[in-house]
């Protein structure tokens, strides 16, 4: 009886590895419109306009696959040309807690899609919407705004910051609570 129990235990341990995060490699393009009206400036009559939420934001911001794809695209599309691996150069730094247009996924997505004054170009027709969401999720992770279990790991090149899953948690600013 005991070997059977041991075998069952081993089988269940082995099968537990079959559970993994789903990779949605072929998203429904109908959901990829991303045409929500996001203001490009915070100067609004009566204070800041509330930013609308998008159902894509929640599904992308803590997904390890999308975060690492965002990291790959960040390199491929030469975001470092201005943002220097998140350290900032011509463009603002992305690894600190300062967000000119807000730290929400929706705001970062709007920044990449529509551009911002003083240099950030619009990538509206140049990057498919899902890839913009992936980039936005990765940019958020540069400042510790993604769970370390999902954030991308080791960099192969010199970076302005530790690997994203080693970034201090943005909620506690690196201090233990």
């Amino acid at each position: 009886m005991r070997p059977v129990a041991a075998l069952l235990l081993l089988a269940s341990l082995a099968l537990s590895a079959c559970q993994r995060e789903e990779r949605d490699t072929r998203p429904q393009s109908a959901l990829g419109s991303g045409e929500q009206p996001t203001p490009v400036t915070t100067l609004e009559p009566g204070g800041q306009r509330p930013s609308p939420t998008d159902n894509k934001a929640a599904s992308f911001e803590a997904n390890a696959f999308h975060l690492s794809e965002g990291k790959r695209l960040f390199g491929w599309f030469n975001c470092s040309g201005c943002h220097a691996n998140g350290g900032g150069g011509m463009g603002p730094a992305l690894m600190d807690e300062k967000w000119i247009y807000g730290s929400s996924m929706e705001s970062i997505h709007a920044t990449i899609r529509d551009g911002r004054p003083n240099g950030m170009p619009s990538f509206r027709d140049k990057i498919p919407d899902d890839q913009i969401w992936e980039l936005a999720a990765f940019v958020r992770s540069l400042s510790g705004n993604a769970p370390s279990s999902a954030a991308p790991s080791r960099n192969d090149d010199m970076m302005a910051h530790p690997s994203e899953n080693r970034m201090p948690d943005a909620a506690t600013l690196g201090k233990s609570p």
Binding site: R23, T25, R26, P27, S29, G32, R72, W76, F77, D125, K126, I127, P128, D129, D130, Q131, D156
Partner: protein, 337 residues
């Protein structure tokens, strides 16, 4: 019944071995390195088979021929002892000779392999990507350096030096008709010399598991006579064909306005992405998506409309295109001969 079974077995073996010929087979060598390796493996296999048969026979003989019982089982028999000692000594001696012999054969085969490219006139840099091959033809004149993808043209009968590296994970370059396999490792340059004896098309395959589409990472070595190869190189250096016709012109315009331009390069146009295959002479290649689809208008459209259906997990995203836009882009790409 027994005869029928053996005939069926022989037929099955013959059918099975048919797969050993053709454009991707280690048992069908078409170059000096591959023939050296093929000869070596056949010799090793044959000699080891002979040794195995001899050992089995030596075990079977005493089992089949029961020796008669001695009247005095514990009595010493000096003659039999020295006979047995002699047999063991001969077996040990033969083993040593065979091992040393095979080691030497392997050593000299390696020397022959290493000598193939000592005077290689052509250097090609092959970079592995998930899941395609970047092929860069080096030349002392910078304007003659050529970058293509997935198809490697070489002059037949001449040694060619391949510099192998990778940008993401470890891949392995293997064209069994021409050479053994060698890894492509990020941050490291491996050197492989190949030579094709005769003109022909030889298929290669990534031989190191490198991710979801590892099996769809094929390549073609196209060995041509020197004159044809030079003409091919000069053709490839030309900028892309200017589109003729309204549809193709609209396609070029769309290509430059839509996400295609972020990753792909087309010589002679503002498209200058380097992270995906160079499309300057796309339609002159035999296959699409690293040997996955044959080159045709229908396959081009299928690949652009839904790359994730053809190669799930590939880095080519689904781009939102209307039917007319897709047709225009395909018409443009089809003209890039």
């Amino acid at each position: 019944m027994k005869r029928l079974a053996s005939i069926a077995f022989a037929t099955a073996i013959a059918l099975f071995l048919q797969g050993c010929a053709g454009w991707q087979s280690a048992l069908d060598p078409k170059g000096p390195a591959a023939s050296e390796l093929a000869w070596l493996i056949w010799f090793f296999t044959g000699l080891c088979a002979v040794v195995w048969v001899l050992v089995m026979a030596a075990l079977a003989v005493p089992l089949l021929m029961r020796s008669r019982q001695h009247a005095e089982p514990l009595a010493l028999d000096a003659g039999a002892d020295s006979r047995k000692l002699r047999v063991v000594m001969i077996a040990v001696g033969l083993t040593a000779v065979i091992l040393v012999g095979l080691t030497l054969l392997s050593f000299f085969a390696n020397r022959t392999l290493a000598a193939i490219g000592s005077d290689a006139a052509l250097t090609i840099r092959v970079t592995g990507h998930q899941w395609w091959w970047e092929v860069r033809y080096e030349d002392a004149t910078p304007s003659r350096i050529l970058t293509t993808a997935n198809e490697i043209h070489i002059p037949a009968g001449e040694p060619v030096r391949l510099l192998l590296t990778s940008t993401d994970v470890i891949h392995s370059f293997w064209v069994p008709s021409l050479s053994g396999k060698l890894d492509l490792i990020p941050g490291r340059m491996n050197v492989l010399d190949i030579k094709a004896d005769k003109p022909g098309v030889y298929r290669g395959q990534c031989a190191e598991f490198c991710g979801a589409q590892h099996a769809n990472m094929g390549t073609f070595i196209i060995a041509e006579p020197r004159a044809k190869f030079d003409a091919w190189w000069n053709d490839q250096l030309e900028p892309a064909a200017v589109p003729t016709g309204d549809e193709a012109k609209a396609g070029e315009n769309l290509f430059l306005k839509r996400p295609c331009v972020m990753c792909h390069k087309i010589g002679g146009t503002p498209a200058g992405g380097t992270v995906a295959p160079d499309l300057t002479h796309l339609a002159s290649r035999q296959t699409l998506a690293a040997g996955t689809l044959t080159m045709s208008r229908g396959n081009l459209a299928a690949w652009i409309a839904d790359p994730q259906g053809v190669k799930p997990g590939s880095h080519m995203p689904v781009v939102d295109l209307s039917g007319d836009e897709l047709n225009a882009i395909v018409a443009y790409l089809e003209g890039l001969k």
